[in-house]
Symmetry: C2
Subunit: 378 residues, 2 copies
């Protein structure tokens, strides 16, 4: 399944060569996957090689699907992605979630997920699970939001959203989306930075999310930038968040209380306060990232999430600080990468993480889910 | 072998219970290890349990051994540890290695390692390999020092020291020594800080050294502390090394050009400049470590190497900054730990890393090394 996910319209012979099994074994496996509706045949391929043409295979566009949901401070969203990771249905609504009772937020989210689920099922997809992205810390069982200060949540279970629902930190999902769907070749060790209200970062090491001993890894927002700097909400002084967090940025740009869209607009118009605020935030981000790169030696730093929209103004400062402060190794300007996933990264990562469970272990899915579209075995 | 290394004078029955094999299988394995001289019998044990007493087993004190060697800026050292990780022989000499030709340094080191090897063999030990600790970056094959700026080395092979010799960064070996021999229970995720001339740190994640994508991970010395601070040798401003590196510390203490011993002496005498310099270095170290803890969420920070001698003056600042800047998780004062290995950590870690190869894979050792002291099979 992963060989099919990585390639485009591959043949049984190509899969056999790729995974090192015999052509006969691969054919048997493919027959099972065809029968289960996980794989589709797409007609004969005519590669420029000797031998009779193979039949092209692809992951089914009507197979299992994943539901992603997102709880932001000022919005809710849900989507369904297919086995290819492509968004097939989506729904979103603005919301004022800060300090709103969690059950009310979860009820509104359930309406959105029900809507996209129904739409997906009408398109012949079979949602297998839901992952909810939250701006906070989640429990080890991934069924509880331990703490999401910007929402005012503490110890909120997500059981109300159904049995096959898990939660995950939004920065982690943004990083996983980059790993799985970002279109980077061989990128397995990187720091992913994103921001909504706070600054979130996530670390991917050897192709896996690095969570730290207690699940708190990636708190780039509280890395000290200037130890005597402004007081942060965490009680310390000069954390990155006091320079590059949304609230600090909007205040520095002279538009406190407004949103990222207003900031982007002001920057586009060349408003000096907005441009200066973003330049200074970029420098602060670069200082904090220099520390991270010196400590972790990643292949790359990926800037994603809402920040990706602001890169024209943010990145010069980030680049300058990284170039000045990471001198002891081959750090190249091109190792600072802007995500191509844009604002969808977190939501697609959430949805695709449910799909990954099927790609990684199709047998469990075949054995445990009803398959209305099951084709007769050949 | 690892069960024996972890326990003290365990019986065959205890090993069987520990590793989940039958008593008969364990007895067969133990017989092989006894025959190979890796394990010794130590007479009957009389545990307070039912059944006939088992014979106590222990790793042999005359079995394979590891040679550790250390190239410092102002000293050379070598030692041999046995299967228990205990130093059995050692040799050291002061040296002025900065910018001295590498072949001359390696020749002097070879004299030391030959001396301890001979002594070890006289004591019935069988050195299996040598690990050389260097204050620099080593190649992936661990046969070349890529760069050691404080020695003035670039691309220096260590082939001259023999075929079974590898090199490793000293901070990494200090961290591994802490993991293997530090006496901490269940410590598998930690940041280890040490310093000689520069500040070195190494990260242990899930019980393994974390090297980063290109082998540069752990450069705590170049984490920015004050972005507009003093100019660092790396070309950036305000790196940790400009506050807490040995050179900066000695200058701030008013004894430039002297050594750590002079600094410790001055601090012990209560010299105000020395005490103030160490307090400020501690604060800078705490600021940099706060960033590391926020990013990595380790179980602990371990302060080792020569720094461990200065903890009475350094640690208050470290503790204060960590408490103030790591507020978002359960960081406890006791998660900052001083190494109990002292200055020997790096050297013992180097020597023991050779021993680990035998503990992890005794069969290869049994099949590939001459065993003059081989006992007859029972």
């Amino acid at each position: 399944m992963n060989a099919l996910a990585a390639g485009e319209k591959v043949t049984r012979a190509a899969v056999a060569a790729e995974v090192g099994l015999t052509r006969a074994t691969v054919s048997t496996l493919v027959d099972e996957l065809l029968a289960a509706g996980l794989v589709e045949e797409q007609g004969a391929q005519r590669p420029g090689t000797v031998g009779r043409p193979g039949t092209a295979l692809a992951l089914s566009a009507r197979g299992p699907a994943g539901i992603g949901a997102e709880i932001g401070v000022d919005h809710l969203a849900a989507c369904v992605v297919d086995l290819h990771g492509i968004i097939r249905c989506r729904a979103a609504s603005p919301a004022a979630n800060r300090d709103r009772p969690a059950p009310a937020v979860l009820a509104d989210l359930a309406v959105l997920t029900a809507r996209v689920t129904e739409e997906a099922e009408e398109a012949g997809l079979h949602p297998v699970g839901t992952t909810v992205a939250v701006p906070g810390l989640v429990g080890k069982d991934r069924r509880t939001v331990l703490r999401a200060p910007n929402l005012g949540w503490e110890d909120v279970p997500v059981a109300a959203l159904g049995e096959r629902t898990v939660v995950e930190n939004e920065a982690n999902l943004g990083a996983l989306a980059e790993l799985w769907l970002g279109g980077h070749e061989k990128l397995a060790d990187f720091v992913h930075v994103s921001a909504e209200i706070g600054i979130g970062a996530a670390l991917v090491v050897e192709g896996r999310l690095f969570r730290g001993a207690r699940g708190f890894a990636g708190e780039l927002g509280h890395v000290p930038v200037r130890p005597d700097g402004p007081l942060c909400s965490c009680g310390a002084n000069g954390c990155l968040e006091t320079y590059a967090g949304e609230e600090a940025l909007l205040r520095a740009a002279g538009i406190p209380g407004q949103g990222p869209a207003a900031l982007r607009g002001a920057a586009r118009r060349g408003d000096p306060a907005a441009v200066r605020a973003l330049a200074e935030a970029g420098a602060a981000l670069g200082i904090a990232l220099s520390g991270a790169v010196n400590l972790l030696d990643p292949q790359a730093v990926v800037v994603g999430g809402p920040l990706a929209d602001l890169t024209p103004w943010l990145l010069p400062g980030v680049r300058r600080e990284l170039a000045a402060r990471v001198t002891d190794r081959q750090w190249r300007p091109e190792d600072l990468v802007t995500s191509r996933l844009g604002r969808d990264g977190v939501l697609r990562g959430a949805a695709y993480s449910a799909v990954r469970t099927v790609l990684d272990d199709p047998v469990t899915w075949i054995n445990s889910f009803p398959r209305p579209h099951r084709q007769p075995a050949r």
